[in-house]
């Protein structure tokens, strides 16, 4: 009995720690989505599809053109940042004065477009980088280096965004616009430019997430669907546009998925997370960290 408990606890601890590692990448995605929502008041339904494009970019750079991973990653981040800016110019900008729901549905069209573009161009095969990172063994627990690396890189990425937002003029302007969209234009801030920079930044975060996810998952045109919905749940649970809330919610969700996956299939972990989400909507409809009104 004692022996059984020991093993069980090790597995549990492993799942908990893996959940935290997974949460890092989710937090990165949630941050990008929250940033765009907070500043431009738009939800990119196709956010996970940008990640998919980034993952394909990484695959082609690393596996086909044999660019070393460390050089491919910045290129890929720039690529997706460019996609983010392009998305803003082509789709969001013409719709800025339309009802917000129209902008959201238009990005839904982009989701369709990107998925089928990937299907048409790359086919529906599953592809992976073929990089096998070693597994770290520690106190009878196994952690893949891919996950540890992802967590660390996600953390660094988030700290970089934090510093950017706190220390630079542009960052301060972004935060100011998030607080009051109308007044900042009167204060002499070029809103158009700030929107564009924010979109590129959101894209860059998706690109970073793509570089990290490609180490752990195969790429296929519908890969966005496996973590897109969960990212949206996280953002709503944390409160749309609430950076800290999104951060906390990412780890809550990652833990639920990881622990749910420990006892059953990974898919049921997602279902459990959704059940928890519905429950939380009754308890805290404004988001986890919402101020009481």
């Amino acid at each position: 009995m004692q022996g059984f408990l020991d093993i069980f606890d090790v597995y549990l601890l492993e799942a908990v720690i893996n959940g935290i590692l997974f949460g890092g990448v989710l937090a990165l995605l949630a941050l990008g989505l929250n940033l765009i929502f907070g500043v431009i008041d738009v939800t990119w339904i196709c956010y996970a599809e940008l990640v998919m494009i980034g993952m394909y970019g990484m695959y082609y750079l690393v596996s086909v053109y044999h660019v070393p991973y460390w050089m491919a990653a910045p290129m890929c981040i720039l690529l997706v940042a460019g996609f983010g800016a392009l998305l803003h110019i082509l789709v969001i900008q013409p719709l800025l004065s339309a009802p917000p729901i129209n902008q959201l549905l238009a990005t839904g069209g982009v989701l369709f477009f990107l998925q089928s573009l990937a299907t048409v161009t790359f086919g529906i095969d599953f592809r992976n980088l073929g990089i096998q990172l070693p597994v770290l063994q520690f106190a009878e627990m196994n952690f893949s280096y891919a996950r540890l690396l992802s967590f660390a890189a996600a953390l660094v990425g988030m700290i970089a965004v934090y510093v950017f937002m706190k220390r630079t003029y542009t960052g301060i302007a972004i935060r100011a616009i998030a607080q009051d969209r109308q007044i900042m234009a009167l204060m002499g801030v070029d809103t158009k430019r700030i929107y564009l920079i924010t979109s590129a930044l959101g894209g860059a975060l998706a690109g970073l997430a793509a570089c990290l996810l490609v180490l752990q998952y195969d790429v296929h045109p519908f890969v966005g669907l496996s973590f897109g919905p969960i990212t949206f749940l996280i953002c709503v649970l944390g409160g749309l546009g609430n950076f800290v809330g999104g951060f906390v919610a990412s780890f809550v969700f990652a833990e639920i998925i990881s622990l749910g996956g420990l006892f059953s299939d990974l898919e049921w972990g997602y279902v459990l997370a959704f059940g928890f989400f519905i429950l939380m909507m009754f308890v805290r409809p404004g988001g986890l960290l919402a101020r009481r009104q």
Binding site: I101, A106, G108, F112, S116, G228, P229, V236, M281, G286
Partner: protein, 324 residues
């Protein structure tokens, strides 16, 4: 005379549609008609909510529930669709209440509502895929076939019967649309979509009104899913549920026109004909191209023609003849 002709028009059109399969017997064309009618019904049920600003991306979920619950009950318990469909409708309605009530009670609107419902259709897809021992997972699922035609288990081999069934269901969908259009609920819901607080202050029970239309819409969508299953006799998680189906509904309705009764039908005709045209013209090379075109068109329509083809056409027609 003008008035009587307008009153007669639906009856003439109805009679022509009923007579069609007896005149034109080409099975391929009938198959396309049946698909258009079933999807028109599904799109109409989406627009019941969509026209009041309740944009849901969870309808793929409701459709999946309708399709899979009916088919699973038939295969695993031998329960006829006559019982399976009502049970699947109850399940979809329950799901709509579970998700809708907290959303409406706690004023989760706009972006939030879309994202919550989006997650719903994602989760239904996950559940169907995860319970692969029962549902066959992503490989799809076929209801057991019996030989010949049978009303008792709703399986028919000839297209004419299916065409008439689908036509009837589609017509009922339009009648429901008209009923809602003429009810007090419509004014209440329009007031809610303009300003929730003002509507509540004016004595509208916001939560109850929204919940009613959501459940109605979910039930109709689930019914469309069940009907689709019985007709096609093969379903996969991706053809009846998930985010792609939800977006397909949004796309078709926006192309056709969300504020007019026949808008979703026009959307269904355009999308299905486009897909068939590509499939016949380009064969297997066309895989993915239809969605590619849908995606681009969806963006273009939202930017340039947000009222849809039929909606804009009617508006132009009315503007030219203000008296009509």
């Amino acid at each position: 005379m003008q008035v009587t002709l307008r009153q007669l028009a639906p009856w003439i059109a109805g009679a022509a549609l009923i007579a069609l399969p007896f005149v034109h017997r080409d099975p391929y064309h009938l198959h396309i008609f049946v698909l258009i009618l079933i999807w028109s019904f599904a799109y109409t049920s989406w627009s019941m909510m969509g026209r009041f600003g309740l944009v849901s991306l969870g309808h793929g979920g409701f459709m999946g529930v309708g399709a899979y619950v009916t088919a699973l009950l038939w295969n695993h318990l031998g329960l006829s669709p006559w019982f399976g469909i009502p049970i699947s409708l109850v399940c979809a309605g329950f799901l709509a209440v579970i998700v809708g009530y907290p959303c409406f009670r706690f004023r989760i609107t706009g972006h939030y509502f879309v994202l919550v419902t989006l997650a719903l259709s994602g989760i239904v897809l996950q559940v169907i895929t995860a319970s692969r021992d029962w549902t066959g997972g992503s490989l799809g699922f076929s209801p057991n076939r019996i030989k010949g035609n049978s009303i008792a288990v709703l399986q028919f081999e000839d297209k004419t019967t299916w065409y008439l069934i689908a036509l009837g269901v589609w017509a009922v969908g339009l009648l429901i649309w008209r009923h809602v259009d003429r009810s007090m609920d419509r004014y209440a819901l329009e007031a809610i979509s303009e300003d929730e607080d003002a509507a509540a202050a004016a004595g509208v029970n916001v939560t109850w009104e929204k919940l009613k239309i959501t459940v109605l819409s979910a039930l109709m969508t689930a019914f469309a899913g069940a009907l689709y299953t019985q007709y096609q006799m093969f379903i996969t998680p991706d053809t009846v549920s998930g985010i792609a189906i939800s977006l397909q509904m949004v796309f078709a309705v926006i192309v056709g026109g969300v504020y007019v009764a026949l808008g979703p039908t026009v959307g269904a005709i355009i999308t299905i004909l486009l897909a068939e045209f590509l499939r016949i013209g380009f064969g297997t090379k066309a895989v993915g191209w239809d969605n590619l075109i849908y995606g681009v068109l969806l963006v273009l329509f939202i930017i340039f023609l947000p009222k849809g083809i039929l909606g804009s056409a009617i508006e132009k027609f009315r503007a030219r003849r203000p008296s009509g």
